[in-house]
Each structure stands twice: as C-alpha cells, then as structure tokens.
C-alpha cells in the first residue's frame, strides 16, 4: 500500500479512535456517580468497551503512522486542536437523561456504521468493527430499554429525556458528514459512507422515540467541526485532566 494511502487510513483510524476514546472517557465519569450500583457497573462496562475500541483503532493508526507513534502518544500528546473526534462525544456527561439519549442515538448509529465497516477492504478495520459490533448490539439493547424506561416512566423522566434530546439533536448531523478524506476512502472500499446511513438511523430512532412517547425533533441548529479540530470549549478541559500525568512526567513508562 502506498504511503499516501497509509496516511489516509491512519487518519481515518485515528478519528474513529478519538471518537471512541472521548466517548469512553465521558462515560467513565459516571463511576461512583450512577443512580444505583447496578447501573454504575453497567455504565463503566460500556465505558470499558469504548476504551478497548479506542485502543484498537489508535494502535492501528499508530502502526500506519510509524516513527515511534503508539496508542498513547496519540492519546496523550495531542492538544485539542489536533483531536479529530466528532463534537457529540466530547459534550459533558450531563444528567442521566442526557447520557441515555446520547448513548441511544449513538448506539443506533454505531450499529449501522460498524455493520458497514465489517465489510471494509481494510482487514484490520473490519476486524475491529466485528468485535465492536458485538458490544454495540449489547449497548443498544440497554440504551433502548432506558429510552423506554425514561420516556414511559414518570412525567419528570419524560421531560428530562425530551430536554436532553433537544440539547443533543443539533450535534447529530455531524455523524453523517463525509469530508474529502472519507470520500476518497469510501471509493477505495475502506471507509463507511456515513451519509448513506442517515435515513435508516433516523427511521430506527423515530420508532423508539415513538414508543418512548418522546418527540425526535429535526435539527434546527447544527454544530460541527470536530474532524478539523474545531472543537467545543469542553474538550480542552477534558484533555487537561486526561493528559496531566503524562504531560507532567514526560517520557516515562507507566
């Protein structure tokens, strides 16, 4: 494979790794903060899956980048302008309704995305996708169940869930953006055509929203920029905490 092609696949794996890492990091913040112990355990379990997924993608990206890059140099040595995750992942965890809504919307997306990625011409990406898909099916069962519980629980839970959805919806269009890099890799059979997933995603979500008695709005406002490092103000603080030890004690083994 050519160097240019390697660079592109590396960038693609890198962004998928960033997505997973930031998502897992946010979920891990629920540790000891859950509404009851079983849910605390469940959420940290999902967080662990995402960290594992991140490690797979970032390790692959690092291999392709070469020159001593590792999953850790990628995770711990880039500042927020160099991170390429989508914005929806970096938003603070919010309350349980926010986390539930975000998780569900992303689980439906990832089900479609990973299913498609299983067919990637790149065997490493396909392998990661297969492993991740098993996890995502489990995540989706859980998050869909929580959508129903909160939507059909009490007035309060329905209201909180609706509020969460209104806060999140404008961050979802970015999931379906295809830039030049991905356009190129799509034609090479390596990347997933995200744009093509939107209709199915919307349709699947609306079914659940309907069952949960919650309105799934159209995105009136939309925010994007993650792939080019144009982040929200949240990511910088996240990374300051996440990277501190490596930054303060550089060049060490842990």
């Amino acid at each position: 494979m050519s160097n240019v092609a390697n660079e592109k696949i590396a960038a693609y794996a890198n962004r998928l790794g960033d997505d997973s890492l930031i998502h897992g990091h946010r979920l891990s913040e629920w540790c000891s903060n859950g509404p009851f112990l079983e849910e605390d355990l469940a959420m940290t379990n999902v967080a662990l899956d995402y960290i594992g997924r991140a490690r797979n993608f970032l390790t692959y990206a690092a291999e392709l980048i070469g020159g001593g890059a590792t999953e850790d140099t990628l995770a711990y040595e880039r500042d927020c302008l160099e991170y390429t995750n989508l914005l929806i992942y970096e938003l603070p965890k919010g309350d349980f309704a926010f986390t539930t809504a975000r998780q569900y919307l992303l689980d439906e997306f990832e089900l479609l995305f990973l299913t498609a990625l299983c067919n990637s011409e790149d065997s490493t990406l396909a392998a990661v996708a297969e492993k991740s898909l098993k996890e995502t099916r489990y995540h989706l069962r859980r998050s869909k169940e929580w959508m129903l519980r909160l939507g059909n629980g009490t007035e309060e839970s329905k209201e909180k869930l609706q509020t969460a959805v209104e806060q999140l919806i404008g961050y979802t269009p970015e999931l379906f953006e295809v830039d030049a890099l991905e356009k190129d890799l799509i034609s090479g059979g390596i990347a997933v055509d995200r744009a093509g997933l939107e209709e199915s995603w919307r349709s699947a979500c609306e079914k659940t929203f309907d069952e949960a008695g919650v309105n799934m709005p159209q995105a009136v406002w939309r925010v994007k920029g993650g792939r080019t490092g144009f982040h929200t103000e949240h990511l910088g603080h996240l990374l300051a905490d996440m990277q501190f030890v490596q930054r303060a004690y550089p060049g060490c083994q842990w």
Binding site: L21, H25, S28, E29, C31, S32, N33, G34, P35, F36, L37, E38, E39, D40, L41, T44, N45, A47, L48, I51, G52, A54, R55, L58, E71, D72, A75, Y76, D95, F96, L148, R149, L150, N152, G153, T154, E156, S157, K160, D241, M242, F244, V245, Q246, Y249, G251, C252, Q253, W254
Partner: protein, 321 residues
C-alpha cells in the same frame, strides 16, 4: 415465668445448642436456617460494612480513572472499579438474604449507622496511589477475605470465594503499577515511595485493633463468622508485603521492621492507634466527602429509580391486564 415462656426459653436454648453444634461441625448456615438474632445482626453489620467498603472504595480509585496515564492503565483501572461494584452487589445480596433491604442498607451508610473500611477515608493523591491501593489495601483485604472463605454463613462464604479470585488480580496490577514506577525515573520512584509511605500504616490498621481491644471479636470467633484473629491476619499481611517491597526496591516506613528468626515472622512497629481512632471518629481527609458523594449520587438518581419503578409497574399491570 409462665409454662409457655419456660417452654419457649427451653426451645430457644435447644435451638441455640443445635446451631452451635452445626457451627462447630463446620456446617454452613443458610438463609432459611434458624439463627440467633445476635448472629443475624452481627452478620448484617459485617456483610453490609464489607459491601459499603467496596462501594466507597470506588471513589478514591474512580478519582484517577480520568487521569490514568496510559490507555492500558485506564482500561485496567476501569475494570477494577467495575469489579468492586460487582463485589458490592454480591455482598448487598448476601446481606439482603438476612432480611434487610437495599434501601435500609444505603440509609444506614448515609446516616453513619453503618461504617465502611476507614482506609477509604484517606485521599488518593497521585497515580502511585493506584499502585499502593491495589498492592496494600487490596492485599490486606485479600488476607482477610481468604480467611472469610471459611466463614460460617453460606452466602457470605461463597461471595468471598468469587471476590478473592478477582481481588488477587487487582493486587497484582497494583503491585505492577509500583514496579513500573520503581523502574522509572527519579520522580516516579519518589512518587511510588511517597504513596507507600502514606498507605502502609493505614493498611495495617485495616485488620482492626489488637484482639484484646476488639469489641466484636470474641462472639464472632465463636460463631465462626471470623476464622482468624486480627493480629494473626495482620502478621500474615506484613510477612508477605516485606518481601514484595524488597523485590522492587520500596522501603516500608517502619524502622522497627525486622525478621525474627525465633518467631518465624517479621517484627514490626506499634501502630499509632490514636490515628486509627481519630480517623474513624471523623478526622480523616475524606470522611465527609465519601458519604456526601454517595448521598449526592443517590439523591440525583432518585428520579431515575422512580422512573424505573413506574415503568416496571406499568409493564406488570399490562401483563396482568
């Protein structure tokens, strides 16, 4: 005394004698079995406090998940804390078999009626603390829990067997964190040594007071809830730790630590019992924070639990309709 009361006391005495015979015979007591009220209460206290310890212990470690300095360590720490939540669940279940509800258990934690291991009143201040907590705190817990695998109450004993399996893995990971630091640069070695300096004595305190000073010990031993004395377990822990420390170049902060050929054990210094009782009494860094944190999460989650209940009720109604 009426004839009925006399009969009841006679029955009671017979039941107690039979109960003690089973205990002495190393038989397990199960939830449906008759047990003295004091035995039930003792177990509820011990099991619930054990559970609360697992749960509260998630806080000082959870404090470092976001700052774990490598993705590998991040994943391992996340898995560890998850295990601890699981341990808390086993133990809450075991306590619940004795006729107490989860709500009562949590309420007791919040009011302070139930305690948790005082070691968790100490703060986790550096990444090396993850090593020290794994190696020493989990290490001490294991020594205690291995012994408890033979405790008389069945659900508790079985819970201990499951927990011990995972806990030994945690201890090795903690030790590995410290080993990696000790093989690192000067600042890392300093960080590791400092963590051990702060956690060594509190870990020894985890075994409780000398047996002569311990309130519950006597009866607990008779009922084989407790199988070995505080001092026995503490000695075991010291013996295993000294060699582990030496192996990676750590100094245990006890100038009186030395091998006693006669006893076949390590002699060690006197614990500062003032500090022990002081921290239990509320002067630890984290006493208020640990409970307040748990209470806050619980309160913030009330609407979620209510929603879950409401939803379950609706579904149940729909099924019977």
């Amino acid at each position: 005394m009426s004839t009925m009361n006399l009969n009841r006391s006679q029955d009671e005495a017979e039941l107690e004698a039979e109960f003690q015979r089973r205990i002495d015979n190393e038989e397990k007591i199960e939830p449906k079995d008759w047990m003295p009220e004091a035995y039930r209460k003792n177990l509820i206290r011990q099991i619930s406090q054990h559970a609360h310890s697992e749960v509260i212990g998630m806080q000082p470690e959870g404090n470092w998940i976001t700052r774990a300095p490598s993705l590998h360590r991040k994943a391992v720490l996340l898995a560890k804390v998850q295990d601890e939540a699981g341990h808390g669940l086993y133990l809450y279940s075991a306590a619940e078999t004795l006729g107490i509800s989860r709500e009562e258990l949590i309420d007791a934690l919040h009011t302070g009626a139930a305690k948790y291991a005082s070691i968790f009143n100490y703060p986790s201040l550096s990444w090396a603390d993850m090593g020290a907590i794994g190696w020493l705190v989990d290490g001490a817990a294991i020594v205690n829990q291995v012994s408890l695998q033979r405790t008389s109450y069945g659900p508790y004993a079985r819970g201990m067997v499951r927990i011990c399996k995972e806990e030994s893995f945690h201890q090795r990971q903690g030790y590995h964190i410290l080993m990696t630091l000790m093989e690192g640069d000067e600042r890392q070695r300093k960080m590791a040594q400092d963590a051990v300096n702060r956690f060594w004595w509190p870990s020894l305190m985890m075994f409780g007071p000398h047996d002569s000073d311990s309130e519950h010990s006597g009866q607990s031993m008779t009922w084989k809830i407790k199988r070995q004395s505080n001092d026995e377990l503490r000695q075991k822990f010291v013996d295993q730790s000294v060699e582990q420390a030496e192996a990676i170049g750590l100094t245990l902060p006890d100038p009186d630590l030395r091998w006693n050929e006669e006893r076949g054990h390590y002699d060690f210094g006197e614990i500062d019992w003032d500090e022990f009782y002081s921290v239990i009494a509320g002067n630890g860094h984290c006493n208020r924070d640990r409970v307040a944190h748990h209470r806050r999460a619980h309160d913030e989650g009330a609407w979620v639990r209510e929603a879950l209940d409401a939803y379950e009720n609706k579904r149940a109604a729909a099924r019977t309709a």
